[in-house]
Symmetry: C2
Subunit: 391 residues, 2 copies
């Protein structure tokens, strides 16, 4: 199995974009080619969830490869719900590792502005179990709300901890020019002030408005390649050293312990094992905080903190930008935004930026090992990636 490196990266602003989906997707590809000093690739994977449903477009990868003038390279669209991005990166990893291709472009892209919030919630709910959940009206916020209540009861997490995640990630997003939300959030403002119930109403008790990520458009790109190709780009060399994936029961209510996220636990361990690192070696992590509770739980399941103690580490500032393990330096899904198919690639973009030392005001000093957790379904299909900076 050949080693796989990151040759180039690119990203759009996350937020509201005025272009068709295929153009949104192509743009960071163009940036990444420039970043890598390349004019051609062997293959393209496009991560996207809503093209067929929301944008009335299928075969998106064929449109993007043509828009970028990269034919006759092959191209496919990869879909794994909100984990589509990391799934596409994992697939690109295999293409290079196997020797089938030397240079593979991975783009994640989504354009969700076609739909209003109600339709967006229904669209995302199409990833729930078609026979055991969706037809009974389950949505992702409703699952997350029930999950959060259980977690609060079992481990002592409070609404204040949830608000801390929001405040931290919004603060990080302020330092990220590509983030969707450049809006400072304080615990006072969203929880304690007289206006809090108006500013921050319940979405799915106990989750409030500021516990939920926004609906965003956006795209990001990673070019994966052999070491030889990546070296020519003259960036600090970043290796995609570990890929891990695991599934869990599709219906959340079928899990033996519904507060465990076994797919996160397994995929994180697989990814770090392949990379030959331990949780304590990780310098910076992007976790999938579609809801604030998820950042806390994933930080435990990935092995950074003991089960049930993620909120304590958060409280102590260990996951802050200046902490022992900065989490979601990009702003996370909460602050940076969540263009569904783009999210996993956007997470990887942030980690590569950090490992290259290019993250400017949000740079984690001496970052050498980076980790991403991209969470599909309600934890039924999770993909984790481990990146290392070569000395």
């Amino acid at each position: 199995m050949r080693e796989v490196y990151v040759a180039g990266i690119g990203i759009t602003s996350f937020g509201r974009l005025e272009y068709p989906l295929s153009e949104i997707a192509a743009y960071p590809g163009m940036l990444a080619l420039k970043d890598a000093g390349l004019k051609a690739v062997d293959h393209l994977y496009v991560a996207n969830m809503g093209g067929g449903r929301v944008n009335h477009q299928t075969a998106l990868a064929s449109a993007v490869i043509d828009t970028l003038s990269l034919t006759p390279a092959g191209a496919e669209t990869i879909e794994n719900g909100p984990a589509s991005g990391a799934s596409a990166i994992k697939t690109g990893f295999m293409a290079v590792a196997s020797g089938v291709h030397d240079v593979v472009m991975v783009i994640g892209a989504e354009r969700m502005r076609e739909v209003n919030n109600l339709e967006a919630t229904d669209f995302i709910a199409t990833l729930t179990h078609p026979l055991a959940e969706y037809i009974y009206g389950v949505t992702l916020p409703s699952l997350a709300g029930m999950f959060t209540r259980l977690y609060m009861d079992k481990y002592g997490v409070t609404d204040r901890h949830l608000a801390m995640v929001a405040a931290k990630n919004h603060a990080n997003a302020m330092l990220n020019p590509f983030a969707h939300l450049h809006q400072e959030v304080t615990i006072e403002g969203i929880l304690d002030s007289p206006e809090a119930m108006t500013n921050n109403p319940f979405v799915a008790d106990p989750l409030r408005f500021f516990d939920c990520c926004p609906v965003s458009d956006g795209a990001a790109c990673l070019i994966l390649a052999t070491k030889e190709v990546a070296k020519k780009a003259k960036h600090p060399l970043v290796r995609l050293a570990g890929v891990g994936q695991a599934t869990d029961t599709h219906a959340v209510h079928e899990r033996a312990e519904p507060t465990d996220l076994l797919a996160v636990r397994t995929s994180a361990a697989l990814s770090m094992d392949m990379a030959g690192v331990k949780p304590a070696d990780v310098s910076v992590a992007e976790l999938h905080d579609a809801f604030t509770i998820l950042e806390i739980v994933e930080s435990e399941e990935a092995g950074f903190f003991k089960k049930g103690e993620g909120h304590i580490a958060l409280e102590k500032g260990e996951t802050a930008l200046t902490g022992r393990l900065p989490v979601n330096t990009s702003g996370g899904l909460k602050g940076k935004g969540h263009p569904v198919g783009a999210t996993g690639v956007g997470q990887a973009h942030e980690i590569v930026t950090q490992l290259r030392g290019d993250a400017k005001k949000r740079q984690v000093k001496g970052a050498k090992v980076g980790f991403t957790c991209n969470f599909g379904g309600f934890g039924n299909n999770v993909v984790c990636l481990t990146f290392t900076r070569e000395e």
Copy 2:
């Protein structure tokens, strides 16, 4: 790069199926596990095009892996329009070849009965160029009609040749218990009889009703594995020896020579080169006859016949079941059916059945090398596979 073998196969009947999409998809997976003598896999790829749009379901792969009780194996959905099936097989090939996984299940599935014929045509048209074709009302039959007229003018193909493809493939489908259409078709009946204009009206001049494949539900499965695993299944050993893929301009009108299908030519050559075989070595081929003209043109571009001479070979019976190179022994998309995401896997299922010597009344004697061409878009993203029987 490790060699990749077929450990097990399974298929549903193609046609009208009464089950939800996730159940249709899971069924051949169960059959393939039994065929392979396996109880677990390392990964699942599901090829599907219309889940999000037609069936209101995303993250299909997560639903299928759960339905089959194959968690915690990872799973993704792969979409490349009508070539999704072969794209998923190519991706599975890389997963095994790279050493990331030892046993990979590939399922292609589609359930299109939610939509009527008009909606189905619009759904398929979502794969055309979003800015240069779709918004102007282009559909796949309209593109195929114009392409056929050009081909007739340039190479002397007649409506009689098109009808020969339909008659041949319907005859083959009569011998395939899994085929959608068990309906004998004669050139007399669809072209020469007084009722022909009623029975076989124009869809997109010069293409008539019997030049177009049906709208089908269905699913098929291949389990790809290392030689060690595949040997244990005790079937004649079939190797996936070559995978090739190529793209062309997304908009058909941008091609220098619109009667050339360069993506077929390139992907076929790549696939056979990797397998170390030449077109003359191929014993049996499944070509993507969504429209009858495509079988003729693909048989040329794949190198089986000279450009412009495919219809002459057809006329001579060279592609008949008893000919030098039987094409579409399964009945093809025309007779077997075209459940879009399933088609490429269905083609591979037929080839493996032939190479194992299990095709009964439609068996090609001594078949040793099999070839499939799965055609995405209107030839803008094509995946070809070459299978060999080990002695």
